[in-house]
């Protein structure tokens, strides 16, 4: 029989994780419970409920970053004015997760610890250079989200460790950003491919920094520094089509999608390129918002 303990503080949660063997933190339970039903664990697990731990909740603006408690549900991220102001990309991604009932339960920390290549929060957090803060009885450590995620289902999380916060560093203003998710339907869908992109511009309206990350086309979110570099110096509102095509080619050459029930690798590869091309097309075109699919349906 699975056992469950609800923790009321971080100290208690860390202690409970240590006290017993075969323990796992559980936040919203929308991944772990599904997984346990699909393949029952060989030994009964003890689940440590962390969704009621105050230290793991809430969204706060701090001097160097926006701090998001790991157990904050996506519904709160989707509704937060602070997130809207500092990390609209993450907000669009939060609105694309599951459906309302799932967003009420599913947490940002759970999404990262599950480390699914399709996790909707990953591409935005990559391009925002977000970090995670981990706590254990031994203390705390911090690292980039892109270092934390190792591969499908694999992270740097050690046994007994809890992901406490996600930190989105304050950074120069973003001229334009977009999150787009392509799934097999508009809600409750695992991404066939997803895209997060942002542009920073200089005083002349030229791209000073471009960042892109793609979901569901590799073992983790995929970034393509080469494509980002190709766009530097281009006019943000109207980049040179040849430069765009070179960036698209770089993306198609870099992503490592797989074939599965939802889509083929070749489609995913083309899709990644198309999503970038669409992002770089003139932002005034009315198609863009509609094209964000359910990110705009939130």
């Amino acid at each position: 029989m699975t056992r469950f303990h609800a923790a009321h503080s971080l100290t208690e949660a860390l202690a409970l994780l240590h006290e017993e063997t075969d323990t796992r933190p559980m936040a919203g339970g929308t991944d772990i419970l599904v997984r346990m039903r699909r393949s029952p664990p060989a030994v009964p697990l003890t689940l440590i409920g962390i969704e009621g731990v105050p230290e793991l909740q809430g969204i706060r603006e701090e001097p160097s970053w926006l701090s998001i408690g790991a157990a904050t549900p996506f519904a709160a991220i989707a509704a937060s004015p602070l997130i809207a102001a500092h990390a609209p990309l993450l907000q669009d991604a939060a609105r694309a997760v599951g459906a309302p009932a799932i967003r009420n339960m599913a947490t940002l920390g759970g999404n990262l610890c599950t480390a699914s290549p399709a996790g909707d929060s990953l591409p935005p957090l990559y391009v925002l250079d977000a970090e995670v803060e981990l706590a254990s009885k031994a203390g705390r450590r911090r690292m980039a989200v892109s270092d934390f995620i190792l591969g499908p289902g694999e992270t740097q999380l050690e046994p007994g460790e809890i992901l406490c916060r996600v930190l989105v560093p304050h950074a120069p203003p973003i001229a334009r950003c977009q999150f787009e998710k392509v799934g097999r339907r508009r809600s409750l869908a695992i991404a066939v491919a997803s895209f997060a992109g942002l542009l920073r511009v200089d005083g002349a309206g030229r791209i000073a920094g471009a960042r892109f990350a793609f979901g569901s086309v590799g073992p983790a979110a995929v970034t393509v520094p080469e494509a980002e570099a190709l766009l530097r110096g281009q006019l943000a509102v109207q980049p040179d089509p040849a430069a765009v095509e070179r960036a698209v080619l770089a993306v198609c050459a870099t992503v490592r999608p797989i074939d599965d029930l939802r889509a083929s690798a070749s489609y995913r590869r083309a899709l990644a390129g198309n999503l970038l091309r669409r992002f770089l097309s003139p932002p005034s075109s009315p198609g863009l918002n509609a094209a964000t699919g359910h990110a705009s349906h939130g």
Partner: protein, 776 residues
């Protein structure tokens, strides 16, 4: 004041009789039953776990499972007392597999345990050794010479093969000015009902069996269980509460025989079986995959002249209603059009895939994709307007349809097309398309649809209704055809209230129970409200006459016309006297308070020899019709199609309840859009790839457009209050309408459904490649 309440009236949007109980969670479904001391039964289906779809059973090791505390019994084929064969028309499906498994979901053992957890553990512990046999996973392979046989006695793996020939048949294609052709493929579709297959069974003290199940056919279930288990059917009582969806997937044995078998082995303790979603997708029935080769020819002026098509349905490992599904698809394969020369050939083939069976728009949804796509291809070839071409050829009363049936009943396809022709989505299509946002293309597509009602020839399609004046003066309808959510029971309440002039609070319905109601066939085939409704009218008319007569006796009135039934009483207006129904009831003996009505549906026996090779279910005489319009937007970057707007004009005869009518159309269109855009219960080597609703997507609210339902009311003289069944017809339109809209939008046509973003993208990519080549 009692007089202020108004009687239920046919034609009005009366509140569904089940609305409150369902909204409040009080309506009891079979799945809600947990009798005191209930045991759990579950099937061992080793094919999926072993990765074997066809194999000889070498050994079933039950000892480890039986040793588990909480396990009562592990039963195998040798414990099945009867023929161990179930099936609606062909009894080819074992209750527990004996000798071999023919698909991944075949059950080889039945475990009975005291809790669900122990049951699951025990199922895992049953050891099954199966020696794989060569298998057939698609109809072509199954039909090839020397192919492995799914059933030893079935040469060539053919369940059914039939043909239709009208006029000069396929030869007449040579006389046509324009001939178009195409090969179409349609996917397997899951019913996706919320309440999975389940029930509870108990052996009573007198040895009889009582089974409450989520079933569409309680009366037929008795016969199937009796045959399979060797129990006289009169010793079996089946109760069918409201279903949490059926769509055909609960027509035929799912849990029934397994549960009855379990109940024979529990010493009188009740036993429950509830399939998980995984089990439902593995072992539940599903829509047949189909391949259709189609050729359609017309004269220069647009007159359809000849059609030739071949349909091959993959029925999977067992017959279920495969032959009948094929027959109905064939009967519709020419579309709702006048075509003088017809050749339609059909085959229904056994494979080692999961069992295909009945599903809403039974064989017809497949055929409609083909003929309605072909109509647009033909229109393009002739330079004709797709709506005009359909109007010009639409069936009219008195015409002969593609199955050789002379149409003597209502035919509303013409009226449906007129409603579409006048709709702003059609008349304003050019402007709407031109306003497509960058990166998107818009298109408008049409589909004409029709769907037969009733079982068809050679099957008795009858119903027996019972209505009672209860001792406290209310009206009780004994429904005998299960309500799967489509609202037939509410329609019966409305009809009874209408005839007997009673309001909603005075009419009740009892859901089917073979011990209380009378054999009335299944809830299926768009026949449910039609057939039982007609029987109910007869019963209510008789009861009304009886109540007037008894009131006349009580009130000393000999003029029936001066007596009027009103809610709760009979009044004699001239003398201002009245008698309450409760009072009338107290003057009547129990048997006097009940009336039975019977009805046998109209049949066609003469098609001038058009059909050959049909067993049962061909042909039909009553059809519902519809014309559909879809407005879609295709995303050129992703290939995703969004259905933006949808209009469905439906001829279902007279409308009994406009809201329930609309609900059926909305539901059919929604399920049809799932079929068009995303649903595909695919298999590889007989293994089902989707295991749950995460891997088998169905449309959600955000995927569905606003659906406008327009009624084109014809008068069906054989129907209750002039109605025809519309449970299925709307399901047929979305796939071809969306495919036609996509072609209109982007100039690419998809021949294989569902029209997933990836397939659209591939087609766009290919078209772009060809354009580049021809430019070079």
């Amino acid at each position: 004041m009692a007089d202020a309440v108004s009687a239920l009236a046919v034609g009005w949007p009366e509140t569904r009789a089940d609305a409150r109980a369902k909204a409040e969670g009080r309506e009891p479904y079979a799945a809600d039953l947990y009798p005191e001391g209930v045991l759990w039964a579950g099937a061992v289906r080793p094919g999926a776990r072993l990765g074997i779809a066809h194999g000889r059973i070498q050994r079933i090791g039950t000892a480890a499972a039986e040793a588990l505390p909480g396990v009562l019994k592990v039963l195998t084929a040798k414990d099945v007392p009867g023929t161990n064969r179930q099936g609606i028309v062909h009894k080819d499906m074992p209750v527990l597999a004996d000798g071999k498994i023919r698909y991944v979901g075949d059950p080889v053992a039945l475990v009975i345990a005291t809790s669900r957890e122990e049951l699951e553990e025990a199922i895992r512990l049953v050891e099954v050794d199966i020696e794989p046999l060569p298998a057939v996973y698609d109809p072509d392979t199954a039909l090839a010479d020397g192919a492995p046989k799914v059933h030893e006695e079935r040469a060539g793996n053919i369940l059914a093969a039939a043909g239709i020939r009208v006029g000069g048949g396929a030869d007449a294609l040579a006389q046509c000015d324009a001939v178009v052709e195409g090969v179409f493929e349609t996917p397997v579709q899951a019913h996706g009902f919320l309440e999975t297959e389940n029930g509870v069974a108990c052996r009573e003290a007198d040895g009889s069996l009582t089974i409450t199940a989520s079933t569409q056919a309680p009366f037929r279930d008795r016969l199937e269980i009796g045959h399979a288990l060797g129990v006289p059917f009169e010793h079996i009582r089946v109760i069918a509460p409201c279903l949490g969806g059926g769509f055909g997937g609960k027509d035929g044995a799912t849990v029934q025989c397994l549960l009855a078998l379990a109940a024979l082995n529990t010493g009188g303790r009740p036993v429950k079986m509830q399939w998980s979603r995984e089990e439902n997708l593995l072992a539940g029935y599903r829509r047949h995959a189909c391949r259709i080769e189609y050729r359609l020819g017309a004269m220069r002026d647009g007159r359809l002249h000849a059609v030739h098509c071949r349909l091959v349905y993959d029925t999977g490992a067992y017959a279920h209603l495969g032959g009948e599904v094929m027959a109905l698809g064939m009967e519709h394969a020419g579309g709702p059009y006048r075509i003088p020369h017809v050749r339609i050939e059909g085959k229904c083939v056994y494979t080692n895939n999961p069992v295909a069976g009945a599903m809403r728009a039974f064989g017809v949804a497949q055929a409609t994709f083909a003929f309605e796509s072909m109509m647009d291809v033909l229109a393009a070839k002739l330079g004709a307007d797709p709506l005009e071409l359909r109007r010009q050829n639409a069936l009219r009363p008195g015409d002969t349809n593609c199955a050789g049936v002379v149409l003597e009943n209502s035919v509303g396809i013409g009226g449906c097309l007129e409603l579409i022709a006048g709709h702003p989505h059609w008349t304003g299509r050019a402007a709407w398309k031109a306003a497509a946002p960058p990166g998107k293309r818009r298109g408008v597509g049409l589909a004409s649809v029709f769907n037969a009602a009733g079982y068809g020839a050679n099957v008795r399609d009858a119903a027996i209704a019972k209505v009672e004046l209860t001792a406290d003066g209310r009206i009780l309808v004994y429904n005998a055809v299960a309500d799967m959510g489509q609202g037939n029971a509410s329609a019966f309440v409305q009809m009874a209230g209408h005839i007997l002039a009673q309001d909603a609070s005075r009419v009740e319905v009892r859901q089917p129970d073979t011990a209380a109601a009378y054999p009335s066939g299944s809830s299926s085939a768009s026949r449910t409200t039609f057939t039982f409704g007609n029987a109910l009218i007869a019963a209510c008319t008789q009861l009304k006459a009886r109540l007037i007569n008894r009131a006349g006796l009580l009130l000393f009135v000999d003029d029936d016309t001066a007596l009027e039934l009103v809610p709760g009483k009979v009044v004699h207006a001239p003398s201002r006297r009245e008698t309450a129904l409760a009072q009338l009831a107290s003057f009547m003996r129990p048997e006097e308070r009940c009336c039975l009505g019977e009805f046998v549906a109209p049949l066609c026996r003469d098609t001038a020899g058009a059909g050959n090779g049909f067993f049962v279910g061909f042909p039909h005489v009553i059809f519902s019709y519809g014309a559909h319009l879809a407005r879609v937007e295709a995303d050129l970057a992703t290939g995703a199609i969004t259905a933006v707007d949808y209009v469905a004009a439906t001829d279902g005869g007279r409308v009994i309840n406009p809201v329930m009518f609309e609900q059926q159309v909305h539901g059919g269109v929604a399920q049809g859009l799932g079929y068009a855009l995303m649903e595909d219960l695919a298999t590889r080597q007989g293994q089902v790839l989707a295991t749950d609703f995460a891997s088998y997507p169905m449309p959600g609210a955000l995927d569905l457009p606003d659906i406008v339902s327009l009624a084109c009311e014809s008068e069906e003289r054989t129907g209750p209050f002039g109605m025809k069944g519309i449970g299925e017809v709307a399901m047929n339109g979305p796939l071809p309408a969306v495919a036609n809209a996509l072609a209109d939008a982007c100039g690419v046509r998809l021949w294989r459904a569902p029209l997933t973003p990836e397939r659209v993208w591939q087609a766009l990519d290919q078209a772009a490649g060809q354009a580049r080549e021809s430019a070079a």
